[in-house]
Amino acid sequence: MTEPLISFRGVSKRFEGAAKYAVRDLSFDVSAGELVAVVGQTGCGKSTMFNLLTGLLQPTVGDVRVAGHDPFREFNALRGKFAVVFQSDRLLPWRTALHNVAYGLELLHRPAAERLDVARKWLKQLGLAGHEDDYPHALSGGMRQRVSIARAFAVNPDILLCDEPFSALDELTAESLRNEFAGLIRATGKTAIFITHSINEAIALGSRVLVFRPPAQIAMQAWPAQAQTEERRALMRESILAAMTAQ
């Protein structure tokens, strides 16, 4: 049996001085090539789980493994292995779109010519050809988020982590980016964890949906591919909503 690419085993996290756990006894696996959507209400512990996964937080109890490494203790072992798309674009304001896309590659010490070529290719792929020399302030919110998606894909990571990347965009832009993003994930065969508070988005994107309720407990799992008809999808939506809101 192959080892999962990402695994949480009995993970709990309580912040210093906090009365309650943000994450309590969380366990799940993600296999290579899966696109797992994590859905839950605000404050259910999704972002804490995300920060545990990226190695920005250390679990109070339990074990997190990403590609066989502890992301907090073996922080540098995961260099180049994963990339993150955040809720806000988090572009460096002093860099042009091209140099923002090339940022991850620069930190991985790829030669300048190579990283700029790759960055140009990804900007083009995401419909931003001609905007290479634009600074972030000259781009719209949707364009900036495209740049941040290009920045993540440019490092060719094994794992892509996305923290509500379309939630700050208008519905039309979000829909268009969501479709492009899903196409890119399928085309590149990346493993991805996609955090969202939108049930529709989770069903549209995920090959598996993990439904969280506080404190980051898995209330339900769903496999959208099994819901072929609109009626079944509606049932799945209702079940997910019930699981999210159950006390």
Binding site: L56, F86, R90
Partner: protein, 253 residues
């Protein structure tokens, strides 16, 4: 439009002062209000004789002092942001330093050190260092947590993190500190040169005072002001280039 209006007003303001001065020179003794032509003559003489070396010496002392203060100030800032304990020790000391008048540093430097140049350099560093340190520490604290997390997600080395995130964030603060300290240092250097140097603008001002040479005093003062303005402009150009990414509103505040 805004820039042109500013330039026009600057020129008109300066012209009004010059005209008032010229009128005063017609009715008052020359040793109090020398005519503009006499001041201009002395000003040109500074730049066309060996006296230009005195102006250059002062400029060199200001820049050397500021450079020293910047390097040591940045080092202290680095220690303060790396260690909360050191921050707690150093912060009150720097605040205490800021309360010490430049003239006190002049007296201390004369008692402590023999070499004139080192005395002046010491005074310049002692008076400029806290502003550099405070500005860099404050700029470091403005580093966005969101951008830091984004950069960390790529697992950069410490050097790369400093080069690509920390330095660009603190640059505006450093440039502001240079601009503020430049004006302060031009005043301090004159005081330092007045009491110990055998050359420089401060020394020349002392000579003009002893000769009651108001035209010379004003010419030397203008020389120093000119140096400050030119250097300020160079810093502003550097700032405009380095911070060109900033969005400007088409409508002013």
């Amino acid at each position: 439009m805004g820039r042109f209006a500013f330039k026009k007003e600057t020129i008109l303001g300066m012209a009004a002062v010059a005209i008032a001065w010229q009128i005063a020179s017609m009715f008052l003794p020359a040793f109090l209000f020398p005519p503009l032509s006499a001041i201009a003559e002395r000003f040109i003489e500074i730049f066309t004789s060996a006296q230009v070396l005195d102006a250059a010496a002062t400029a060199g002392r200001i820049l050397a002092g500021l450079l020293g203060a910047f390097i040591l100030g940045a080092l202290l800032a680095f220690i303060m942001v790396k260690s909360a304990t050191m921050h707690r020790y150093l912060y009150p000391l720097l605040q205490f330093n800021q309360g010490i008048p430049a003239l006190s540093w002049v007296v201390i430097a004369i008692i402590w050190f023999k070499t004139t140049e080192f005395r002046i350099w010491f005074i310049m560093v002692a008076t400029s260092l806290p502003a550099f340190t405070f500005q860099i520490v404050d700029s470091y604290r403005t580093i966005s947590k969101e951008l830091l997390e984004m950069a960390l997600s790529f697992r950069p080395s410490r050097y790369d993190l400093a080069r690509t995130l920390i330095v660009p964030t603190v640059i505006p603060g450093i440039l502001t500190a240079w601009k503020v300290n430049l004006g302060n240092s031009s005043r301090v250097v004159v005081v330092a040169e007045l009491v110990g140097a055998t050359g420089g603008v401060g020394y020349e001002l002392l000579q003009t005072q002893q000769l009651f040479d108001m035209a010379g005093a004003l010419a030397w003062t203008l020389t120093l002001v000119l140096f400050v303005l030119v250097t300020q402009q160079l810093i502003t150009w550097t700032e405009d280039h380095l911070l060109r990414y900033r969005a400007l509103s088409e409508r002013g505040i």
